[in-house]
Amino acid sequence: MAGSNTKQVTFHLRRFEPGKDAEPHWEDHSIEVTPGMTVLDGLWKVKELSAPSLAWRSSCRMGICGSCGMLINGRPRLACNTQVSELGSAIVAVAPLPNFDIIKDLVPDLRPIFETHREMLPYLLRDDTAEQEDPTREYRQTPHELEQYLQFSYCIKCGCCMAACPTVATDAQYAGPMPLGQAHRYDSDTRDAGFDRRREVLAGGSGPWRCHFAGECSQVCPKGVDPAKAIQLMKRQLVSDLLRLRRRTPPAAVAEAPHGTMRDDIPAAPPRTVTEA
Protein backbone atom coordinates (compact mmCIF):
# COMPACT_ATOMS: atom_id res chain seq x y z
CA MET A 1 0.00 0.00 0.00
CA ALA A 2 1.30 3.44 -0.94
CA GLY A 3 2.20 5.60 2.08
CA SER A 4 1.88 9.38 2.26
CA ASN A 5 5.58 9.78 1.53
CA THR A 6 5.62 7.58 -1.53
CA LYS A 7 5.20 8.73 -5.10
CA GLN A 8 4.45 6.81 -8.26
CA VAL A 9 7.28 7.22 -10.78
CA THR A 10 7.71 5.66 -14.21
CA PHE A 11 11.13 4.30 -15.06
CA HIS A 12 11.53 4.68 -18.81
CA LEU A 13 14.32 2.22 -19.54
CA ARG A 14 16.33 1.63 -22.68
CA ARG A 15 16.63 -2.10 -23.24
CA PHE A 16 18.84 -3.98 -25.66
CA GLU A 17 19.95 -7.57 -25.81
CA PRO A 18 22.45 -8.39 -28.54
CA GLY A 19 21.52 -11.44 -30.54
CA LYS A 20 17.85 -11.02 -29.61
CA ASP A 21 16.98 -7.39 -30.33
CA ALA A 22 17.69 -5.83 -33.69
CA GLU A 23 18.01 -2.42 -32.04
CA PRO A 24 17.46 -0.84 -28.63
CA HIS A 25 13.90 -0.13 -27.51
CA TRP A 26 12.23 1.58 -24.52
CA GLU A 27 10.20 -0.01 -21.73
CA ASP A 28 8.13 1.66 -18.99
CA HIS A 29 8.00 0.33 -15.43
CA SER A 30 5.99 2.08 -12.76
CA ILE A 31 7.20 1.86 -9.17
CA GLU A 32 6.60 3.52 -5.82
CA VAL A 33 9.42 5.83 -4.86
CA THR A 34 10.14 6.75 -1.26
CA PRO A 35 12.09 9.82 -0.07
CA GLY A 36 15.84 9.29 -0.35
CA MET A 37 15.51 6.61 -2.97
CA THR A 38 18.23 6.73 -5.60
CA VAL A 39 17.88 5.84 -9.26
CA LEU A 40 19.97 2.76 -8.51
CA ASP A 41 17.49 1.73 -5.78
CA GLY A 42 14.73 2.26 -8.33
CA LEU A 43 16.47 0.00 -10.84
CA TRP A 44 16.76 -2.73 -8.21
CA LYS A 45 13.06 -2.36 -7.48
CA VAL A 46 12.15 -2.58 -11.17
CA LYS A 47 14.33 -5.67 -11.51
CA GLU A 48 12.70 -7.24 -8.46
CA LEU A 49 9.11 -6.45 -9.48
CA SER A 50 8.82 -6.44 -13.24
CA ALA A 51 12.03 -6.77 -15.27
CA PRO A 52 14.17 -9.57 -13.85
CA SER A 53 16.47 -9.65 -16.88
CA LEU A 54 17.35 -5.92 -16.68
CA ALA A 55 21.16 -5.50 -16.70
CA TRP A 56 23.38 -2.67 -15.44
CA ARG A 57 26.66 -2.25 -13.61
CA SER A 58 26.88 -1.16 -9.99
CA SER A 59 28.90 -2.02 -6.94
CA CYS A 60 29.61 0.32 -4.04
CA ARG A 61 26.29 2.28 -3.90
CA MET A 62 28.14 5.34 -2.60
CA GLY A 63 29.72 7.14 -5.55
CA ILE A 64 33.16 5.64 -5.13
CA CYS A 65 33.53 2.76 -7.58
CA GLY A 66 32.30 4.54 -10.72
CA SER A 67 30.41 1.50 -12.03
CA CYS A 68 26.91 2.94 -12.34
CA GLY A 69 27.46 5.79 -14.80
CA MET A 70 24.26 6.10 -16.88
CA LEU A 71 22.33 8.61 -18.91
CA ILE A 72 19.60 9.70 -16.51
CA ASN A 73 16.98 12.06 -17.91
CA GLY A 74 19.44 12.94 -20.65
CA ARG A 75 22.42 13.68 -18.39
CA PRO A 76 25.39 11.42 -17.60
CA ARG A 77 25.26 10.73 -13.85
CA LEU A 78 25.95 8.05 -11.29
CA ALA A 79 22.73 6.15 -10.55
CA CYS A 80 23.75 5.65 -6.92
CA ASN A 81 24.45 9.35 -6.47
CA THR A 82 21.21 10.62 -7.98
CA GLN A 83 18.05 10.69 -5.92
CA VAL A 84 14.83 10.28 -7.86
CA SER A 85 13.34 13.30 -6.05
CA GLU A 86 16.12 15.61 -7.23
CA LEU A 87 15.17 14.93 -10.85
CA GLY A 88 11.82 16.64 -10.23
CA SER A 89 9.99 14.47 -12.71
CA ALA A 90 7.47 11.65 -12.62
CA ILE A 91 9.41 9.99 -15.43
CA VAL A 92 12.96 8.77 -14.99
CA ALA A 93 14.50 7.96 -18.36
CA VAL A 94 17.56 5.74 -18.02
CA ALA A 95 19.82 4.77 -20.91
CA PRO A 96 23.40 3.52 -21.18
CA LEU A 97 26.15 6.14 -21.44
CA PRO A 98 26.39 7.41 -25.03
CA ASN A 99 29.60 7.25 -27.12
CA PHE A 100 30.03 3.55 -26.27
CA ASP A 101 28.80 0.30 -27.72
CA ILE A 102 26.15 -1.42 -25.62
CA ILE A 103 26.87 -4.81 -24.10
CA LYS A 104 23.34 -5.24 -22.74
CA ASP A 105 20.56 -2.88 -21.58
CA LEU A 106 22.30 -0.20 -19.46
CA VAL A 107 25.79 -1.75 -19.66
CA PRO A 108 28.14 0.20 -21.95
CA ASP A 109 31.32 -1.33 -23.31
CA LEU A 110 34.00 0.74 -21.55
CA ARG A 111 36.95 -1.25 -22.90
CA PRO A 112 38.00 1.44 -25.42
CA ILE A 113 38.47 4.07 -22.71
CA PHE A 114 40.42 1.71 -20.49
CA GLU A 115 42.65 0.72 -23.42
CA THR A 116 43.33 4.40 -24.12
CA HIS A 117 43.82 4.98 -20.40
CA ARG A 118 46.44 2.21 -20.34
CA GLU A 119 48.29 3.82 -23.28
CA MET A 120 48.75 6.95 -21.17
CA LEU A 121 50.88 4.98 -18.66
CA PRO A 122 48.75 6.06 -15.67
CA TYR A 123 51.20 5.17 -12.90
CA LEU A 124 54.46 6.50 -11.46
CA LEU A 125 57.35 5.96 -13.85
CA ARG A 126 60.77 6.08 -12.20
CA ASP A 127 64.20 4.57 -12.58
CA ASP A 128 64.55 3.33 -9.00
CA THR A 129 62.80 0.03 -9.62
CA ALA A 130 64.27 -1.60 -6.51
CA GLU A 131 62.89 1.17 -4.27
CA GLN A 132 59.48 0.90 -5.87
CA GLU A 133 59.32 -2.85 -5.52
CA ASP A 134 60.62 -2.85 -1.97
CA PRO A 135 60.03 0.64 -0.54
CA THR A 136 62.22 1.81 2.32
CA ARG A 137 60.38 5.09 2.95
CA GLU A 138 57.89 7.41 1.21
CA TYR A 139 58.88 9.86 -1.55
CA ARG A 140 59.21 13.44 -0.36
CA GLN A 141 56.40 15.74 -1.51
CA THR A 142 55.20 19.06 -0.13
CA PRO A 143 51.50 19.84 0.38
CA HIS A 144 51.75 22.41 -2.44
CA GLU A 145 53.14 19.78 -4.82
CA LEU A 146 50.35 17.43 -3.80
CA GLU A 147 47.74 20.04 -4.66
CA GLN A 148 48.99 20.19 -8.26
CA TYR A 149 47.43 16.80 -9.00
CA LEU A 150 45.23 15.94 -6.02
CA GLN A 151 41.85 16.79 -7.58
CA PHE A 152 42.71 14.81 -10.73
CA SER A 153 43.40 11.76 -8.57
CA TYR A 154 39.75 11.80 -7.44
CA CYS A 155 38.69 10.47 -10.86
CA ILE A 156 36.75 7.20 -10.51
CA LYS A 157 36.78 6.34 -14.25
CA CYS A 158 32.99 6.22 -14.45
CA GLY A 159 32.97 7.40 -18.07
CA CYS A 160 30.49 10.27 -17.50
CA CYS A 161 32.97 12.82 -18.91
CA MET A 162 33.52 10.67 -22.00
CA ALA A 163 29.77 10.49 -22.53
CA ALA A 164 29.33 14.26 -22.15
CA CYS A 165 32.28 15.30 -24.34
CA PRO A 166 31.11 16.63 -27.73
CA THR A 167 34.54 15.98 -29.25
CA VAL A 168 34.54 12.32 -28.20
CA ALA A 169 31.10 12.06 -29.80
CA THR A 170 32.37 13.26 -33.15
CA ASP A 171 36.08 12.54 -33.33
CA ALA A 172 37.24 8.94 -33.32
CA GLN A 173 40.90 9.92 -32.90
CA TYR A 174 40.52 11.97 -29.73
CA ALA A 175 41.63 10.17 -26.55
CA GLY A 176 39.03 11.95 -24.41
CA PRO A 177 38.95 13.74 -21.06
CA MET A 178 39.35 10.76 -18.73
CA PRO A 179 42.59 9.29 -20.17
CA LEU A 180 44.06 12.74 -20.80
CA GLY A 181 43.15 13.95 -17.33
CA GLN A 182 44.81 10.92 -15.83
CA ALA A 183 47.93 11.38 -17.95
CA HIS A 184 48.17 14.91 -16.59
CA ARG A 185 47.59 13.64 -13.07
CA TYR A 186 50.87 11.69 -13.32
CA ASP A 187 52.72 14.28 -15.42
CA SER A 188 52.13 16.83 -12.67
CA ASP A 189 53.18 14.52 -9.85
CA THR A 190 56.65 15.46 -8.61
CA ARG A 191 57.39 11.82 -7.80
CA ASP A 192 57.03 10.87 -11.46
CA ALA A 193 59.68 10.91 -14.19
CA GLY A 194 57.56 9.64 -17.07
CA PHE A 195 56.82 12.89 -18.92
CA ASP A 196 59.02 12.02 -21.90
CA ARG A 197 57.43 8.59 -22.32
CA ARG A 198 53.87 9.91 -22.07
CA ARG A 199 54.76 12.71 -24.47
CA GLU A 200 55.14 10.12 -27.25
CA VAL A 201 51.39 9.59 -27.11
CA LEU A 202 50.20 13.02 -25.95
CA ALA A 203 52.05 15.09 -28.56
CA GLY A 204 50.40 13.07 -31.35
CA GLY A 205 47.00 13.17 -33.00
CA SER A 206 45.02 11.67 -30.12
CA GLY A 207 46.38 14.17 -27.59
CA PRO A 208 44.87 17.32 -26.08
CA TRP A 209 45.06 19.29 -29.36
CA ARG A 210 41.63 18.13 -30.45
CA CYS A 211 39.90 19.42 -27.29
CA HIS A 212 37.53 22.32 -28.09
CA PHE A 213 37.32 23.28 -24.43
CA ALA A 214 33.54 22.86 -24.29
CA GLY A 215 33.99 22.12 -20.58
CA GLU A 216 31.17 19.55 -20.46
CA CYS A 217 33.50 16.96 -18.91
CA SER A 218 34.12 19.17 -15.88
CA GLN A 219 30.47 20.14 -15.64
CA VAL A 220 29.29 16.55 -15.52
CA CYS A 221 31.95 14.94 -13.30
CA PRO A 222 30.24 13.43 -10.23
CA LYS A 223 33.45 13.77 -8.21
CA GLY A 224 34.08 17.45 -8.98
CA VAL A 225 37.21 16.73 -11.02
CA ASP A 226 38.05 19.31 -13.70
CA PRO A 227 39.42 17.31 -16.66
CA ALA A 228 39.07 20.33 -18.98
CA LYS A 229 41.54 22.18 -16.77
CA ALA A 230 43.90 19.20 -16.80
CA ILE A 231 43.82 19.19 -20.61
CA GLN A 232 44.61 22.92 -20.85
CA LEU A 233 47.45 22.55 -18.31
CA MET A 234 48.71 19.59 -20.30
CA LYS A 235 48.80 21.71 -23.48
CA ARG A 236 50.85 24.30 -21.62
CA GLN A 237 53.28 21.64 -20.35
CA LEU A 238 53.71 20.09 -23.80
CA VAL A 239 54.15 23.40 -25.62
CA SER A 240 56.60 24.61 -22.96
CA ASP A 241 58.52 21.41 -23.52
CA LEU A 242 58.56 21.98 -27.29
CA LEU A 243 59.86 25.51 -26.80
CA ARG A 244 62.46 24.27 -24.29
CA LEU A 245 60.85 26.40 -21.57
CA ARG A 246 59.78 23.58 -19.31
CA ARG A 247 61.70 23.26 -16.09
CA ARG A 248 63.11 19.78 -15.79
CA THR A 249 63.55 18.63 -12.25
CA PRO A 250 64.52 15.17 -11.05
CA PRO A 251 61.70 13.17 -9.47
CA ALA A 252 61.19 13.50 -5.74
CA ALA A 253 63.70 11.52 -3.74
CA VAL A 254 62.98 9.12 -0.92
CA ALA A 255 62.40 11.06 2.29
CA GLU A 256 65.12 10.91 4.89
CA ALA A 257 64.45 9.22 8.20
CA PRO A 258 63.33 11.78 10.80
CA HIS A 259 66.17 12.82 13.09
CA GLY A 260 64.33 15.03 15.58
CA THR A 261 65.25 15.04 19.24
CA MET A 262 63.04 13.75 22.00
CA ARG A 263 61.23 16.51 23.87
CA ASP A 264 62.18 16.51 27.53
CA ASP A 265 59.94 19.42 28.52
CA ILE A 266 56.70 17.49 28.53
CA PRO A 267 55.26 17.73 32.04
CA ALA A 268 54.41 14.59 33.95
CA ALA A 269 50.71 13.92 34.54
CA PRO A 270 49.66 15.13 38.04
CA PRO A 271 48.55 12.58 40.60
CA ARG A 272 44.80 12.11 40.80
CA THR A 273 43.36 14.05 43.74
CA VAL A 274 39.64 13.63 43.14
CA THR A 275 38.13 11.10 45.46
CA GLU A 276 34.94 9.18 44.95
CA ALA A 277 31.98 10.68 46.79
Binding site: T167, T170, D171, A172, Q173, R199, E200, L202, A203, G204, G205, G207, W209, R210, K235, L238, V239, L242, L243
Partner: protein, 126 residues
Amino acid sequence: MRDRTLWTWHIGAGAVILVLLGLHMVIMHLSGTLGFLGVQDAEPTGWASVAARAGSLFFTLTYVALLGAALYHGFYGFRNILMELNPGRTVRSVINVGLSVVGLALFAFGTWAALAAPGAATMAGG
Protein backbone atom coordinates in the same frame (compact mmCIF):
# COMPACT_ATOMS: atom_id res chain seq x y z
CA MET B 1 54.66 14.76 -32.07
CA ARG B 2 53.64 16.58 -35.25
CA ASP B 3 50.28 17.65 -33.86
CA ARG B 4 51.89 19.42 -30.93
CA THR B 5 54.13 21.41 -33.28
CA LEU B 6 51.28 22.28 -35.65
CA TRP B 7 49.08 23.41 -32.76
CA THR B 8 51.87 25.54 -31.27
CA TRP B 9 52.35 27.25 -34.65
CA HIS B 10 48.57 27.75 -34.78
CA ILE B 11 48.61 29.60 -31.46
CA GLY B 12 51.72 31.56 -32.48
CA ALA B 13 50.04 32.56 -35.76
CA GLY B 14 47.00 33.69 -33.76
CA ALA B 15 49.21 35.97 -31.66
CA VAL B 16 50.85 37.40 -34.80
CA ILE B 17 47.41 38.05 -36.32
CA LEU B 18 46.28 39.77 -33.13
CA VAL B 19 49.21 42.21 -33.26
CA LEU B 20 49.27 42.84 -37.01
CA LEU B 21 45.50 43.03 -37.39
CA GLY B 22 45.49 45.46 -34.47
CA LEU B 23 48.08 47.52 -36.33
CA HIS B 24 45.98 47.37 -39.48
CA MET B 25 42.88 48.50 -37.59
CA VAL B 26 44.70 51.41 -36.01
CA ILE B 27 46.25 52.60 -39.27
CA MET B 28 43.37 51.98 -41.66
CA HIS B 29 40.19 52.28 -39.67
CA LEU B 30 40.86 54.32 -36.54
CA SER B 31 42.27 57.47 -38.13
CA GLY B 32 39.37 59.47 -36.73
CA THR B 33 40.05 58.20 -33.24
CA LEU B 34 43.76 58.85 -33.66
CA GLY B 35 42.95 62.38 -34.80
CA PHE B 36 40.86 62.82 -31.67
CA LEU B 37 43.89 61.72 -29.65
CA GLY B 38 46.07 64.30 -31.39
CA VAL B 39 47.76 62.01 -33.93
CA GLN B 40 47.23 63.58 -37.35
CA ASP B 41 47.76 61.44 -40.42
CA ALA B 42 46.92 61.75 -44.09
CA GLU B 43 43.85 59.96 -45.43
CA PRO B 44 44.92 56.27 -45.05
CA THR B 45 43.14 55.11 -48.20
CA GLY B 46 44.38 58.03 -50.29
CA TRP B 47 46.71 57.24 -53.18
CA ALA B 48 49.71 58.94 -51.62
CA SER B 49 49.32 56.95 -48.39
CA VAL B 50 48.84 53.65 -50.22
CA ALA B 51 51.87 54.27 -52.44
CA ALA B 52 53.98 55.29 -49.45
CA ARG B 53 53.08 52.11 -47.56
CA ALA B 54 53.74 49.98 -50.65
CA GLY B 55 57.23 51.39 -50.86
CA SER B 56 57.99 50.84 -47.20
CA LEU B 57 60.02 47.74 -46.27
CA PHE B 58 58.33 47.62 -42.85
CA PHE B 59 54.85 47.49 -44.37
CA THR B 60 55.90 44.94 -46.99
CA LEU B 61 57.24 42.68 -44.26
CA THR B 62 54.10 43.06 -42.14
CA TYR B 63 51.90 42.27 -45.17
CA VAL B 64 53.83 39.07 -45.83
CA ALA B 65 53.85 38.12 -42.13
CA LEU B 66 50.11 38.78 -41.77
CA LEU B 67 49.38 36.84 -44.94
CA GLY B 68 51.44 33.84 -43.76
CA ALA B 69 49.98 33.88 -40.26
CA ALA B 70 46.38 34.25 -41.47
CA LEU B 71 46.74 31.54 -44.10
CA TYR B 72 48.33 29.09 -41.67
CA HIS B 73 45.85 29.86 -38.88
CA GLY B 74 42.83 29.57 -41.17
CA PHE B 75 43.97 26.50 -43.06
CA TYR B 76 44.97 24.65 -39.89
CA GLY B 77 41.55 25.40 -38.40
CA PHE B 78 39.85 24.26 -41.59
CA ARG B 79 41.94 21.09 -41.57
CA ASN B 80 40.80 20.37 -38.00
CA ILE B 81 37.17 20.73 -39.03
CA LEU B 82 37.69 18.31 -41.91
CA MET B 83 39.57 15.86 -39.67
CA GLU B 84 36.62 15.75 -37.29
CA LEU B 85 34.55 14.24 -40.06
CA ASN B 86 36.65 11.12 -39.43
CA PRO B 87 38.09 10.70 -42.94
CA GLY B 88 40.01 7.57 -43.86
CA ARG B 89 43.79 7.47 -44.11
CA THR B 90 43.88 8.27 -47.85
CA VAL B 91 41.44 11.18 -47.57
CA ARG B 92 43.46 12.53 -44.63
CA SER B 93 46.57 12.55 -46.78
CA VAL B 94 44.69 14.26 -49.60
CA ILE B 95 43.43 16.93 -47.16
CA ASN B 96 46.92 17.50 -45.73
CA VAL B 97 48.65 17.70 -49.09
CA GLY B 98 45.81 19.64 -50.76
CA LEU B 99 45.59 22.31 -48.07
CA SER B 100 49.39 22.63 -47.92
CA VAL B 101 49.64 23.12 -51.69
CA VAL B 102 46.75 25.62 -51.85
CA GLY B 103 48.06 27.49 -48.79
CA LEU B 104 51.59 27.72 -50.17
CA ALA B 105 50.30 28.81 -53.58
CA LEU B 106 48.21 31.59 -52.01
CA PHE B 107 51.16 32.63 -49.87
CA ALA B 108 53.46 32.75 -52.89
CA PHE B 109 50.91 34.80 -54.87
CA GLY B 110 50.27 37.21 -51.98
CA THR B 111 53.98 37.63 -51.32
CA TRP B 112 54.57 38.35 -54.99
CA ALA B 113 51.79 40.95 -54.90
CA ALA B 114 53.28 42.63 -51.82
CA LEU B 115 56.77 42.69 -53.35
CA ALA B 116 55.53 43.90 -56.74
CA ALA B 117 53.41 46.68 -55.22
CA PRO B 118 56.15 49.38 -55.05
CA GLY B 119 56.91 48.99 -58.77
CA ALA B 120 53.23 49.04 -59.65
CA ALA B 121 52.67 52.14 -57.52
CA THR B 122 55.58 53.94 -59.21
CA MET B 123 54.32 53.04 -62.69
CA ALA B 124 50.75 54.05 -61.87
CA GLY B 125 51.96 57.26 -60.24
CA GLY B 126 53.59 58.09 -63.50
